[in-house]
Amino acid sequence: MIYIKPADKKELLELVAQPSFRKNNGQILAGGSDLLVKIEHFGLKTGMIVDVKSIKSLRGITKKDNLIRIGSLTTLSDILGSKILSKNAPNLTQAANNFAAIQMRNRSTIGGNICNASPAGDLIPPLYALDANLKLESHRGIRTVNIQRFFKGPGKTVLKPDELLSEISFRALPSSTFSRFYKLGQRESMAIAVVSLALNFNSENNRFKDVRIALGSVAPTVIRAKEAEKILDGSNILPEIVEKAAKIAAKECSPISDVRGSADYRRLMILRLLPELLKIA
C-alpha cells in the first residue's frame, strides 16, 4: 500500500487526478475512523492512501457577513469547542456533543462524516436543516452542491473519484431561532442513531416560521420532512397542528428494519419525538 501525504491542496488534487490513484483504488484518508474500520474489518482493498491531514487550509471555522464556513478537515472536537457554532448553529454543536467519545471526536472530521454518506451520520441532519452548501474541488475546477443533492443512497454520493470536499458553508441562524438536535440511540454514549432529528424554526405572533426538519436513519439518505414543514409554516402553534405535522413526517420516512430497530418503531419514534422538539420554551 502506497502512502502519500500531499503538502497542499494543489498537490492533492493533482494526485487524485492521476490514473494510478484510480487503478490502485486509492482512498482519501482524513480522520480514518470510517476508512480504517472498512480496511481492517470489512475487507476494503486499497493500494494507495492519500493522507490529507497535513493540509492546514482545510481545517477551521470562520464567520464573515453572516456566512459560516467550515473546512472539511475540521474535527468533531473543533466543532464542539467552537463559539461561532454554538452561537450561530446550535444544533450542529448538539450533534457533535452526542458524537461517540473524546478519542473519536479528536480524529473524526466533518468531511469524513459527510463523504461516508451514512444515513445515520450525526452531522448530516443539522446540515440539512441549515441548508448547507458543499464545495467540491478537483483539478478540473470547483462546483457547489447543496447538501440535499449530494447523497445518492447509503454510502453513495455525487462526488467524483478525483474530487475533494473542501468546505461546508451556511448562513448563521438568528439568535431567536429554535435550533435542536436529538439522537435516539440504544444507549447514551457510543451509539449509532436509531433515529435522529434536527430542527430549526422561529416563532412569530404565536405562529411557526421558517421551519426546517431533517430526519436521520429513516431513509436511504437523511431527508427533509418537507410536507410536515409546509403544514407548520405560518400555522398557529397548537398541539393539533404539531400532531398533524408529526404524523405527516412519519409518513415521509421510508425506514428499514435492522438490528437497531424495526421500521415501525422508527416511524413511531419520529411521531413521538417531533412534537417534543417543536415545543416553545
Partner: protein
C-alpha cells in the same frame, strides 16, 4: 508491502523507524517497540483500551496507521511514571482500588490524563463524560470514577 520512514517522539525518546504502511499505530507500539501497556480489545474504536496521547489529544491507536504518527509526539502508559514516581492518576487507581483485571486501565488513565492536562478546571462531575469511550467489563465504573477523582485531589494539592 510498502515501507515508510517515520520519526516521532515517544515517551520523551526520539524514534526513527521504517514501518509497513499497513501497520496500525497500536501494533507499531506493541510489536515494534515492545511497549505492551497499550492494549487492544475491540480493534474498532469502541472500547478505548488502546488510548494513547498524540500531540496532546487522547486517541484510539487501533484506528490510526503507524505512518500517520510521523512527526508527532506520543505518550503511552509507560511514559507516565517519572524516575519511580507514579503519575497521580496511577496513584489514584492504587489508593481507590480502581483496578480489577486491569486490561482497560491504561486506556482509562491515558484518556483522563489528556483531559486533565487540557482542562485544569476539570470537575469530578465531568469524569463520566470524559471516559465515555472507555469500556470496563469488571469494575462497574464507580471505583474508576473515584480513582480519577482522587487524582484530581492529589494534583490540586500540589
Amino acid at each position: 508491502m510498502s515501507k515508510y520512514n517515520i520519526t516521532l517522539e515517544l515517551n520523551g525518546v526520539k524514534r526513527s523507524n521504517i514501518v509497513d504502511t499497513e501497520k496500525l499505530l497500536l501494533n507499531y507500539i506493541r510489536e515494534d517497540l515492545h511497549l505492551t501497556g497499550t492494549k487492544e480489545s475491540c480493534g474498532e474504536g469502541e472500547c478505548g483500551s488502546c488510548t494513547i496521547i498524540m500531540d496532546g489529544e487522547a486517541v484510539n491507536s487501533c484506528l490510526i496507521l503507524a505512518v500517520e504518527a510521523d512527526k508527532t509526539k506520543i505518550t503511552t502508559i509507560e511514559g507516565l511514571e517519572i524516575e519511580g514516581n507514579l503519575d497521580s492518576i496511577q496513584q489514584g487507581f492504587i489508593d481507590e482500588h480502581g483496578v480489577q483485571c486491569g486490561f482497560c486501565i491504561p486506556g482509562f488513565i491515558m484518556t483522563a490524563r489528556a483531559a486533565i492536562d487540557s482542562d485544569p478546571d476539570l470537575k469530578s462531575s465531568d469524569i463520566p463524560g470524559v471516559v465515555a469511550g472507555n469500556l470496563c467489563r469488571c469494575t462497574g465504573y464507580v471505583k474508576i470514577f473515584k480513582s480519577i477523582e482522587k487524582a484530581l485531589r492529589l494534583e490540586r494539592k500540589r
